[in-house]
Assembly symmetry: C2
Homo-oligomer: 398 residues x 2
């Protein structure tokens, strides 16, 4: 059987992306979401000729005519209506953030002044017109697009939303995701397992990985019983946009997921990928519902979510995702099987370079090894020797 | 006046870190928090001799005595009590994740078998003892520390919490932070400003920057009225661990913050730093309360929070913070003033290298420039020429 490669699998997944609707959220709740409208300057930036140093506002003409001592006519605080200087030979004290008073065109900061008896003397050789004045519209003009649609929102964008008065913004709706574990060997976190049992963990790592991209997923556990699987998965297919499975996709007698999904009318787009970990990965669609059935080993589930679900999500919400993260292999490495290998690595940053040191654990069941490493280095399937200093794609999770 | 340098300021701030108490949270709510207990293996990992491929379990001795065809005596599913093989010349079908049956010591995967009429024939030349068996305790021994105290929790750690049955974990309590804007020029996000007014934005960028490190901050606005400032700040000093101010720390007539804090018994540790932006930065302590009074220009507030508050926070919750992020300057740059310069840059990653391209905006009031860039490159204060290819510390915010 010729399996598809990891990149062929990714291509199929990206072609199966969905378009979600948009929703309006409070601007302060939009951190980490994808903006779905252009944010436009509601007025010029700055909106007025803005004083940018605390000091005095003068007419530069007076200064350039030789005058150095100016009578203080008033104070222009930030947030007050614009004053008009009555006498062009006077000055007005003006504060950072204030509107520049009428009949003045330059600001001299306090550091360069001597103030005595209501007069300010300027200790400076030259004054330029508009000195220490942040000119109306200099940064951006009214109507300019400040933030384009499809931007990933961070603190910087939230500041701009506030500035232009966008107390709510349109963002991509998040997909509704159900994370499902199967397997009779699994017990709850608060239970004490029998000798032959272990606790559920993959659904929680998946939930945490989704939380990182602001998806609040739900979780369910179904025992290895075909009828139960059929009825529960059928109802999840109705209620959710995406189902993520962990386990029951390999050759085991109780690996019912592929046949159950088939019976429920989910179209298989591929099963099994030339990769380690995560070879038995199954992927399919039913209408606009998307089903990722990851292998059940902890490292397989973890790596598959990062390699496949994340890009699918980004594409679906409107980001042209391309993983440009790469790292430099810090030691020689040998891997023979002819599969794409997601090598667990610890990242160090040195002088602007990203170095990846292999942290070889005990295989895909070794969950703890994920704690000791930071990322996966994606080694291609067409080679066996990987040399220190070579650069490979990097998938980080911290 | 000789100002302190940016790194002297940071040193003073780090020396002023606090120790917060710990709190117990549900393990699923611990993402992004700092672990305050060692997480210990509650039993061996794996907890039993675990079958790692779907197939048949046999006695390798029988195989090595020349036998190739084995009668199937039963099935050992994952999650079932351990079976005992009655006849050492038989085999038991065994599923991934199952406990290895008694009297068997090797597993042969289905891919290498022919199964017919209740017999499995092995198409393989050699079988090793413990083949496809993940040995009890091989990954980690009971009692081993799986995750040490003071680890920043991510999805990988949450998976381990689940596995060892830690449904709640002890984490560092987050500081209670109040973010305060001052300035009569500021109006609310939903209001329409007069010509000489602007909307509040810095408090919201600060709240978003804190949200990134899982601190839910509160916000307040106080007008430039000394009595109001005194009474409100006094009450905030009682109720919060940290106050973050934006504005009113420079030389303006209404820059009351330093004197108000002084009157309230806050000890100034420094005022003004040899840096751009953010020169008028004021920092002080009152008992175990910590006060960061950042300059009010948007870029100053933003950069100062990243450069100073983040490290203070990390130190306070128990992480030995050292910014090892560096980037390679992608173009020559010139900066004369003899201050540490937080140059706004756009990051690109190429072949494992982090490149920083300057995005020079219109100065510290140009909030929109934060949208166009990703990070600050910290250029030292003792030089004016910075050459393409040189490496400098990087402070990222995306």
């Amino acid at each position: 059987m010729s399996l598809i490669t990891a990149n062929e699998a990714l291509e199929i997944i990206l072609k199966s992306s969905e378009t979600f609707r948009v929703e309006e959220v409070n601007f302060l709740k939009s951190n980490g979401r994808i903006l779905k409208e252009d944010i436009v300057a509601d007025r010029d930036f700055p909106p007025f000729n803005r004083v940018s140093m605390d000091g005095i506002a003068i007419s530069s003409e007076a200064f350039n005519n030789g005058q150095r001592k100016f009578k203080i006519e008033g104070i222009q605080p930030a947030g007050s209506e614009q004053l008009t200087m009555q006498n062009p030979l006077n000055c007005i004290e003006a504060m950072t953030g204030a509107i520049l008073p009428n009949n003045t065109d330059a600001v001299i900061q306090y550091e360069l002044l001597t103030i005595e008896d209501g007069f300010a003397t300027i200790n400076l050789e030259a004054v330029k017109e508009l000195q220490n004045v942040h000119l109306k519209g200099l940064d951006r003009k009214q109507g300019a697009i400040l933030i384009p649609k499809n931007t990933l929102i961070s603190a910087a964008e939230i500041g701009v939303f506030a500035t232009v008065g966008k107390s709510t913004v349109m963002v991509a709706r998040q997909p509704k995701v159900m994370v499902i574990s199967t397997g009779n060997e699994l017990v709850g976190v608060s239970e004490t397992p029998e000798d032959y049992q272990i606790r559920r963990s993959n659904v929680f790592t998946l939930v945490s990985l989704l939380e990182k991209i602001n998806i609040k997923a739900e979780t369910a556990h179904i025992t290895d019983d075909k009828d139960k699987l059929l009825s529960k998965i059928n109802s999840f297919l109705n209620d959710f946009d995406v189902l993520l499975f962990s386990g029951a996709v390999s050759k085991g007698k109780f690996d019912f997921i592929p046949e159950v999904l088939d019976e429920l009318g989910v179209k298989k787009l591929f099963h099994k990928v030339k990769q380690r970990p995560g070879k038995p990965f199954w992927f399919g669609k039913k209408g606009n519902k998307t089903i990722f059935a990851f292998p059940g080993n902890p490292v397989s589930t973890f790596a598959s979510c990062l390699k496949y679900f994340y890009p699918w999500y980004y594409k679906s919400i409107g980001i042209n995702f391309e993983n440009k993260n790469k790292a430099i292999l810090a030691e020689d490495y040998f891997f023979k099987p002819g599969l794409t290998y997601f090598l667990q690595v610890k990242i160090t940053k040195e002088e602007g370079e990203i170095l990846a040191t292999p942290i070889t654990g005990r295989g895909s069941a070794d969950l703890v090894n994920l704690v000791d490493s930071d990322a996966f280095l994606e080694l291609p399937d067409d080679r066996t020797n990987f040399t220190k200093g070579e650069v490979f794609p990097l998938i980080t999770y911290r």
